[in-house]
């Protein structure tokens, strides 16, 4: 978190807009508050029912490797469990850590995988693995979930980037071999206007600048490769997309200034909470994938305190995201994935920390196409490594297969990489136990 801390703006929201929203609420809108943008969309939208609506993904990315033992998979009273207690959830027989009381109330909307294993114990490699479903390969970069989703679904009517990363980590989601145009659009705290969007000069001067640009572009193109723009620079395309975005009404979805304070509070009103709230707005606007990063899980020292603080941030934001999407009839076509690169060691080290543990950690899923209220797999009581033979052991690529499958993407389809090598969208098999019945 330190890395991006200085980029985060002041907390809180614009009071004038805030008041207006309150008034709206007062008029009896209740939870169904609407931004002008979503009103507009709702009015013009033919999507009266969610059937056939394109699906979206919200990835809540726990950068650093969250401890399964202080979140989804507590072992109270055991050596490996540390000081964390377990609490009941809305799913019978399922207990999670007492650091996440709000999440416990919405567990009936979620599927919990407690036996995820991977072979990557290094932050960068494991992030790559979790975000693409592939282990790093020096010869090519695989696309992340969001890139695949944007590649597969049409962009009709969406004037803003459809793949967004809020508080991107150093290893942000990439378009990989599908192309840079599928890279995540990076943004930070969604308060105030998005940086670099407002024009610096009046409209007529801006238009004149663009026509100056045209002159320069055509002289550069002269005598050079005819496919330079299309197959290489994408310069004009990005200028066009950037200017479209600058003038679009949809950019309202990038900030949460107009959202009532009560709603922000539900999300925790932390940078991460605001990011999650923003993610729900973006999804409603037609953005296909939003990743929101919560940093600070790399607890080699002082594990309990640090994990609990992070889990607190996550608890409010995650539970509110799920409730919010459900209230707004968006949960059925939005998959929410919550996970990090790996878990943490059962053994508590001499610095009261836990180290990296890719041998058995937890990932939670909710929403469209995912079965509700299930939990799968159990960790070894002594914290031993989970083997493929362990009941319900799940590989990272299986999670990808499950998500793609739930999104309606044909997982048997092969992509062609730039060097003509066929590459499957993902290598795994859907986890049948958590796929909802059609």
């Amino acid at each position: 978190m330190k890395r991006f801390q200085h980029l985060l703006g002041p907390e809180g929201c614009g009071t004038r807009a805030h008041f207006n929203r309150r008034t709206l609420l007062g008029a009896g809108a209740g939870l169904a508050w609407l931004t002008p943008l979503s009103q507009l969309l709702a009015a013009s939208s033919e999507e009266k029912s969610n059937k056939g609506r394109p699906k979206s993904v919200i990835v809540l990315w726990m950068q650093g490797g969250p401890s399964q033992l202080e979140t989804w998979d507590p072992h109270p009273g055991k050596m490996i469990g540390g000081d964390t207690k377990a609490i009941d959830t809305s799913v019978k027989g399922l207990k999670i850590a007492d650091t996440m009381p709000h999440t416990a109330e919405v567990m009936h909307e979620m599927a919990l995988l407690r036996c995820v294993t991977s072979k990557e114990g290094d932050h960068e490699r494991a992030t790559y693995n979790m975000q693409t479903g592939y282990r790093p390969d020096p010869t090519l970069i695989h696309p992340s979930i969001g890139a695949i989703l944007c590649h597969e679904l049409s962009a009709q009517g969406v004037e803003i980037p459809r793949h967004v990363s809020i508080f991107p980590s150093a290893f942000a989601s990439r378009g990989g071999f599908l192309g840079n145009q599928y890279d995540a659009f990076k943004m930070y705290d969604p308060t105030g206007p998005l940086p670099d969007l407002p024009k610096r000069v009046p409209e007529d001067r801006f238009e004149a600048r663009l026509s100056d640009l045209d002159i320069l572009e055509s002289s550069f193109a002269k005598g050079r490769r005819f496919d330079l723009e299309k197959n290489k620079t994408l310069h004009r395309e990005t200028v066009d997309r950037a200017t479209t975005m600058m003038t679009s009404d949809q950019i309202g979805a990038f900030n949460i200034d107009g959202v009532p304070e009560e709603i922000k509070e539900q999300f925790g009103n932390t940078p991460f909470g605001r990011g999650c709230l923003c993610a729900t707005q973006l999804i409603e606007t037609g953005v296909r994938c939003v990743q929101v990063t919560l940093n600070g899980w790399d607890t080699h020292a002082n594990n309990h305190e640090l994990q609990s603080a992070r889990a607190g941030d996550l608890d409010a934001a995650l539970s509110a995201t799920i409730k919010h999407l459900k209230d707004r009839d968006r949960l059925d076509d939005t998959i929410v994935l919550c996970g990090g690169e790996f878990g943490r060691t059962p053994k508590i080290n001499p610095a009261a920390g836990r180290d990296h543990w890719p041998h058995g950690f937890s990932v939670a899923l909710a929403g469209g196409g995912i079965r509700k209220g299930v939990f799968l797999g159990e960790t070894d009581p002594e914290g031993e490594k989970i083997t493929p033979e362990t009941k319900h052991a799940v590989r990272v690529e299986d999670i990808h297969a499950t998500i793609h499958n739930a999104l309606g993407i044909d997982i048997d389809k092969d992509y062609q990489t730039p060097i003509g090598r066929p590459m499957a969208i993902c290598q795994g098999t859907p986890i049948s136990e958590i796929v909802a019945d059609a």
């Binding site: 969007l197 002159i215 550069f220 050079r224 005819f226 723009e229 310069h235 990005t238 080699h300």
Partner: protein, 544 residues
Amino acid sequence: MWLKNIAFIALATVVLASLANWLLAPPKVEALDEPVVVVSDDFQTAKEAVDAQFRETWQSQELEPAPKADDLTIARRISLGLTGSIPSLEEIRLLENRPAEDRLAWWVNHLLEDRRYGDYMAERLSRAYVGTENGPFLIFRKRRFVTWLSDQLMANRPYNELTQDLIAESGLWTDHPAVNFITATVDQDGTKEPDVAMLAGRVTRAFLATRIDCVQCHDDNLGGDLKQTDFHELASFFSEAQNSFVGIMDRKGKPYEYKYLHAEEETTVPAQVPFNQHLLDESGGTLRDRLAGWVTHPENKPFARAIVNRVWAVMTGRPLVEPVDNIPLKGSFEQGNYPAGLDPLVDDFIQHNFDLKRLIRLIASTEAFQRDSRAEHEITAEHERTWASYPVTRLRPEQVIGSINQASSLSTLNAESHVLTRLVTFGETNEFLKRYGDAGEDEFSMDGGTIPQRLLMMNGNLVTERTRNNFVRNAATRISQLSPDNETGVETAFLCVLTRRPTPQELEHFVSKLENDEVKSNRTQDYEDIYWALMNCTEFAWNH
């Protein structure tokens, strides 16, 4: 008393006059007294050997090469490749004052003596050596490492010696900065010792342009003949290296234990190299010394190939063999069928004692480096692939910001620039880099630009700051006030930003913009707009 007043007024006048003189006078172009660049005969022979191979390729593929680019275009490439920024107006004037026959050779020499070369090249090379992350806290001193590398490059230390230090040096990370190559891999969560596997991967990729990472976990199942044992036997050379309060030291005889795939238990892995085994010294020094000797052995050609390919890539934006750190040891390359240019450059590099500056001079002098990226005839991807035309490649973020800063100043920004300028530039650079997006180790990506990059360039702080009305700092304002007429003004702006003069159409367009009052703006604003357009066009953000 009145004497005092007069003295004060006189003093104030002198100060103001000199300030005005400093602000208003365009940068001085001083006479050059450096000797004409003389190149040795064997330099010419080497250049011809490289050129001959390229010509042969073009002929055999029936590709008509693009003509030679003009001097300013080539000078821009050299400048971007060696300093990470475009030439300043001051430098363009200097360059144009040189006799045409030695202009470019002089330019390369001039830059190789400038600290910007050492700093920029060190930054680029360090990515291959230690990655882009900050590494282990306290014990990894990235800045110290890069500065050390820059010193070595400025002194033109033979590249084999430099590499030997990286692999085999011991001592404290502060006193012996080369050891940071090892400390960068110190495992933060487990043993707190150097990561032998990571080192094996880095050594082979960075110094031998060979990727053996895949066989870390299993034998090569993609048709290669490398085995898992090859990887770990190489890693074993680092087993003695340990991290302690006295820095990186070697504990003689410390074994490397590893449990191979499908093996029942761990075995002690001997130190052995995966190819050219006969070049490895049987004994002498530490394991790391022996490895360093093998890696840099003059007959171990992958070593020279790796750096030649990388330097070519840093200078042009695209390596001769892609990806930059993977030159196959087998297949067609085994019979010496390397892409045009590689082998003669490698031979010359080894024969001349791993002389990096000579290699750079040689690359810059080749026909392939000097081809235009456009022609009267049709240019295809094939032309670019074979260097029959200069490939258009994306500038790295550092090159973009280096060029924005340089374009907004009429004089050269280098180590001699005012400390305040450098400080301001440093802060803004970091912020810009973060936002523009750093491709990390994936340095020579062929991808196009992104929307946030365009937004940052169109509406971001940096371009706005560097182009807006500011007589002290910004070239745009100074050109608007100092140029005697519109034609000169537009031409100067083009030279500052695009290192070229405008075409007749462009000149006409921008001069008429200056004379036209349809859009409400003053002269300073007009130049701000011209600068904005120049900095936002493809030509500015790409090497060509």
